[in-house]
Amino acid sequence: MQTVFSIAVDALAYGMVLFVISIGLSVTMGLMRVVNLAHGAFAMIAGYLASYAARDLGLGYAAGILIAVVGTVIIAIPLERFLYRRLYGATELTQVLMTIGITFCVIGIANFIFGPTLKTIPLPPALQGSVDLGFRSIAAHRVFAIVCGLVVALALWFLIERTAFGIRLRAAVDNAAMAAALGVRTEVVYAVSFAVAIGLAALGGVVGAELLPVEPYYALRYMVTFLVVVSVGGAGSIPGALLACLVLGAIDTTGRYLAPEYGEFFFYLAVIVIVTLFPRGLLGRSKQ
């Protein structure tokens, strides 16, 4: 029984880390309809910025996160203006080609500037060490990731479902022409959404760095994981992404505990079953 609890805790922690890292992609793919394979590249840029600020400049973890999120968004703004804007409404294949190109560039540049080794973001003392749950201990930074995930989920849900901006965004997504006719400045809405998505990628990259350490190949290494999480959850659905992360986290963690050798099989078979049963994702928006 204790083992079951223990696995459940691991699954929750892993799932929430996945959620924090992937949710930004769910926004780009579901709400902006851009298959952004460069999502990981932005998370990685944030990781480098945080590492530089917190470790090399010694500014501390909180400042590191802030600098990483703001800095990554600033880097992303010209990219949105000159590259991504061309992708809105383009075919999926075109989006794949462009964003993979961007990813290659970012990898090359990161390798050139920061070198190929792993970079870490030093944790504040409060997040180091373990938290005792009674029957086992869990790393403090994982608890932090869980909290971050919940806060992000709530904030995003509120932003999209409960604010005027959210209404505009959903209108722009569902029918850009109609929204424009109603006075919604779709370009601005898209730019802001993109910034939000990139900010989330950045936050995820920093918070998840304990599990997925920052190095130049980060941008491609986890791309598949992000894509799977988003589509299993249903692109654009915040609760869906949350559910997908918890389900996939549970399957992955349990599979790895019971039969680590066949962990990959478990995971991808589960993905096939879920995607076949729920082609729009677990809680996907019904409109294609």
Partner: protein, 391 residues
């Protein structure tokens, strides 16, 4: 047009076969992509050797031609090796980080009359792929076997093994099991982890449940090793007194700063530590650190490349710059010298390097830098894996 092309073709063929006072060495390695740090170390090792010894052997000038294979890709390896031999006219092939890449290029050697000096790829069988293969790195068996003895010496009788589920991992598992059972130890469970594993927490739970007193681990150096070591600490295994044994692949010097204090006290066996205390190593490290720019990135493939260059230089010396793979390989069989890692010999029979393997513990040096501190030496280790292959 056709005639002209044929003529050019003939010239290219002849010039590569004929005596040349510039001798080209083709180096194939992962210079970009996820293993770029290893490729960089190849280059650093070679640059260091050239800096220390100059780029001339006798009258012959050595020129290095690099080719990139970001991830294991035998088809590309073969095509690059062929291009290097045929178009660039290289007299030596070197590098090779991944086993399948070396395996794919090996059949070209006798036809091309070119020796291959493997600077990393660590599967025992590679030397059997062609009589022209010489290896200056290590094998999984070579580095793994001594740690079983260490475990036994520390009074451990029950061990659980965790290895990445691919060739080298399975080699490590077999090697550890064979050596530990010879010491009357018991491997209570063997776990193979998919290479893509990011989260090791559930596996640490398995370790706890297994009742083992220690774990033996192998993962290729890179991001997962960091997560693995952290999971070992965070999930309370360290606190519970479960010992940690591994090969040095888990604690390459380039990962140590990232591991930080979490890595302190980890014991691994390996053929080379950057901190090895010898005049040869001091000279090597000084040159290598200059070549690499960022000293933190310096780690084991560099020494394989450095020694590989030494072997190649002896080959050039022996053949007088002539293209003669057979004579070149014969000349280095049984060759002994003092490498930065310690005394080494090219075993005449297997053409693999016989070397000391060291037990190391992660610690800090006087400057506070994280290092692998050598605490015990297993002298003149051959490759036990070859016997396993032949079985």
């Amino acid at each position: 047009m056709k005639k002209l092309a044929m003529a050019a073709f003939a010239v290219a063929v002849l010039s590569s076969a004929a005596y040349a006072d510039t001798i080209k060495v083709g180096v194939i390695g992962p210079f970009s992509g996820p293993f770029a740090v290893s490729g960089k170390n190849f280059k650093v090792g070679i640059d260091a050797w050239l800096a220390v010894n100059g780029n001339k052997v006798g009258d012959n000038e050595i020129q290095i031609v690099y080719r990139d294979i970001p991830q294991a890709d035998p088809a590309q390896s073969k095509s690059l090796a062929q291009e290097l031999i045929v178009r660039e006219g290289v007299q030596y092939l070197a590098g090779f980080y991944f086993t399948p890449d070396a395996m794919a290029a090996a059949p070209l050697l006798s036809q091309g009359n070119v020796p291959m000096v493997v600077m990393n790829a660590a599967t025992s069988a590679i030397v059997t792929a062609s009589p022209y293969v010489v290896r200056t790195s290590f094998t999984m068996w070579q580095n793994t076997t001594p740690i079983a003895k260490v475990a036994k010496d520390q009074g451990v009788t029950k061990v659980i093994t965790l290895v990445s589920d691919y060739g080298p991992g399975i080699d490590a598992e077999n090697a550890f099991k064979a050596a530990f059972e010879k010491e009357d130890g018991q491997v209570v469970e063997t776990i193979r982890m998919p290479l893509s594993t990011n989260d090791f927490a559930p596996l640490m739970q398995r370790v706890k449940d297994s009742g083992a007193e220690a774990l033996f681990a192998f993962l290729p150096s890179g991001p997962p090793t960091l997560a693995f070591v952290k999971a070992y600490n965070d999930n309370g295994l360290k606190a519970a007194g479960i010992k940690f044994f591994a090969t040095g692949d888990l604690t390459p010097e380039s990962d140590l700063p990232a591991l930080g204090d979490a890595g302190l006290g980890l014991t691994t066996t390996y053929h080379y530590s950057v901190s090895h205390d010898s005049p040869e190593n001091k000279a090597f490290v000084a040159a290598a650190e200059k070549a690499i720019g960022n000293p933190v990135e310096l780690t084991f493939p560099a020494v394989g490349a450095y020694d590989g260059m030494y072997v190649i230089s002896r080959m050039i010396e022996a053949t007088g710059g002539k293209k003669d793979a057979k004579a070149a390989v014969e000349a280095v069989k049984g060759l002994s010298w003092t490498s930065p890692r310690g005394p080494v010999t090219i075993d005449p029979e297997s053409r693999h390097i016989t070397q000391n393997v060291y037990l190391r513990e992660v610690g800090r040096d006087a400057d506070g830098k994280y290092i692998n501190k050598e605490i015990q030496t297993f002298e003149k280790q051959g490759d036990p894996g070859l016997a396993f292959v032949k079985k």
